[in-house]
Symmetry: none
Subunit: 235 residues, 4 copies
């Protein structure tokens, strides 16, 4: 660390105004893109508008991102997949009970992502993924899989520590994910799908808590329930 080349670190310490702009550009563009992708979707967002909102010209956008799809990937990396190392670190560091961990994660997730523009990306992928196979694949690898893995690790921890009964993992992961996805959709479905007045009746934090309670209730030895596939001893 202390032996890094001087030039780069000089710049890092006292960047010229011009330089600072330059370094900031990709982030500013990705931020503008996030806004617009969430607002209009991927296909309906025009590259020029992203650039304008970031205060640069259309050409500059393509200077930093080779295509609209690359821009989208950057948005995902910066806002979602980039966070998994922290999530995983937090997982390692946590030392309470697994039900507490699950509750804690859910709360953090809600604050960091669910209750944020970022949740619009989930909705976007749901709606447009099929039309942009490369993005779908990217999202699978960068978001879906790490997320599933993380949840799986949490659940497995509960099983390993004897807090949870043995689980049909695929199903259990999904049970955790479902209410999160649903909430994200709800948050971005203004006039299109619900009378906003009615949609706003649902208090997200309470909804998450109740769903979590139900899930946790299912994470112990019980006879078959409607939530359980025939034959699976437990969630």
């Amino acid at each position: 660390m202390s032996f890094s080349k001087p030039h780069r670190s000089d710049k890092a310490l006292v960047p010229a105004r011009h330089e600072r702009r330059k370094d900031a550009r990709p982030g500013e563009l990705a931020a503008a893109a996030l806004d617009l992708f969430v607002e209009k979707g991927f296909a309906a967002t025009r590259a020029e508008e992203v650039a304008r909102r970031a205060g640069v010209s259309k050409g500059t956008l393509f200077l930093y991102f080779n295509s609209k799809e690359e821009l989208f990937k950057a948005v995902v990396r910066e806002n979602i997949s980039g966070g998994f190392s922290q999530w995983n670190a937090e997982f390692e560091a946590f030392d309470g009970s697994t039900p507490d961990m699950l509750r804690h994660c859910m709360t953090l997730w809600w604050q960091r992502q669910g209750n944020t523009k970022v949740s619009g990306i989930t909705k976007l992928m749901l709606g447009e993924g099929k039309n942009f196979p490369e993005l779908a694949l990217f999202y699978q690898q960068e978001v879906i899989q790490p997320a599933h893995l993380l949840i799986r690790r949490i659940l497995q921890r509960g099983v390993d520590r004897g807090e949870f009964a043995p689980l049909n993992m695929k199903y259990a992961v999904f049970a955790v994910l479902a209410p999160m996805i649903f909430l994200q959709l709800l948050m971005h479905s203004d006039t299109a799908c619900y009378d906003p007045a009615e949609a706003s009746e649902l208090v997200p934090e309470e909804y998450l808590a109740s769903q979590l309670q139900i899930i946790l209730a299912g994470l112990c030895l019980r006879p078959a329930s409607p939530l359980t596939k025939k034959g699976t001893p437990c969630l």
Copy 2:
């Protein structure tokens, strides 16, 4: 009669090909449009492809529908809003308990619509509604409002017959709707959002049953629960 040569008078019974096509066209086009709208979304579906899939030329499509938006409206009318009169008739005719009615409706809905291409329309509106305000308004009026009304009538019946406790209707309606919407989304989110293998773990019928059970459990006098807003005596 059955062995007579085809007369002109048979025309009424077996319309000439020319005429039969004419009557069939709108339906064929709407069917092709449903397929493609569900597959690609509204904006990404090209009019010409709808026509081609219906076996006609681009011009023919516009012979029957003045615009792509009108085509979409026809798809909605034909597949969703047109069915509300039947739903309402069935509501009137039913004479079991209201919990039974709710279960019955859910089952029927799943067979008729949820477990069908039609459910893709819900997803489509969720994703693209904001970009097509006229369609969003149409969908609100033709689908959302009648659906909400129907559910509300069912719940109110339960209250009126003393089966359910007094309800905060807006919230209760939404509680019924939420799992239905979620399922529809799930069904049309192939590679985009979940490892299909995992998504398929969820058995829709069981999911619906379990959600219904939870809802029904909430439909009687109880103290405040996480599902209940502060102060509301019941779901």
Copy 3:
């Protein structure tokens, strides 16, 4: 004449209803076409609308006229060029002075054509002729040339009878035609070009009379006037 074949003449005497329609069709179509051509121009008039206004289907129109251009030609023939034989006959029969003849012709023309939908055809050709060379040629041959010829004959009669001085014919013909054309344009220039209130100030009959008076005043030996090209002894 008396020996003509019976079949055709039977039909001519007592045409079946069906037949009568059939014979009337071309005229009805041409009449509808005249209305619409005058109202919207040639290019902007849709074949289907002509058919609808004539109470037949689009296909029927093309049964009687091979193309929109042929339809236009029929309109011209029926309403303009077909009248030249009568004009010429009247020319032969007239036996007053030539100035009187000119006045008489102008008046008749105003009643028969100028003050009529037909005048819209002149405007139409002026505006769209260049875009439809075949129609332009047809109109030249069927309308412009006969009209010029007729006027020329009238003027020549005046010269021959010693009523007019020798004329530079091309120019003189044009002097007669100009106010007629101008009036026709004015009649079909609603809101597009003049405040209708103002345009209506001009009384066509008086305008024609005054122009005629000026022209007639020019039809005798005089020194060069502004209306005369340098060197031409007279109009």
Copy 4:
């Protein structure tokens, strides 16, 4: 300085090709559009052809003008309505007699506009105005009204200075305008309406002069003439 190599600082003086084009484009496009509108009319002129004639691609046209109608408006502004401030300034500055002013204006108008492609716009509006109501309205406001106002001011000046008798303004304005409009039509009616050979017989300058003479003759107290409506004391 004149022999120095081109520096960057020369840029302001001799803008780079790239930039010069940008400033020039709208004008080039409007010029090409003027040519084609006059040649073929508004509806029959294809956007792509305008672009091609201006040496750019279809997309470039719409970079500068939001629609074909906006392009037309720009043509009108650039070639006609933009000139009214100069006309009005010249009106203020002129200090000869009003008949002289009228003659002078007519001459200038002929040089600047009548004897120019621009006169084709008048013909175009006459022919197509009804089919493009928004353009008709624009033309009314930007051309017809200012033109009428200007002529009215000239005539009123004559009245105020005692050179002309009191006038029925609406009618008088129109008397001045009529020959101007007629000439413009004539100039753009090649093969469509007249044997070009014949049309060319009319010498525009002489035609204008003669018409002006007639009008001026009418601008003094006289008993009713054919040019005067019954009851109006003067033109």
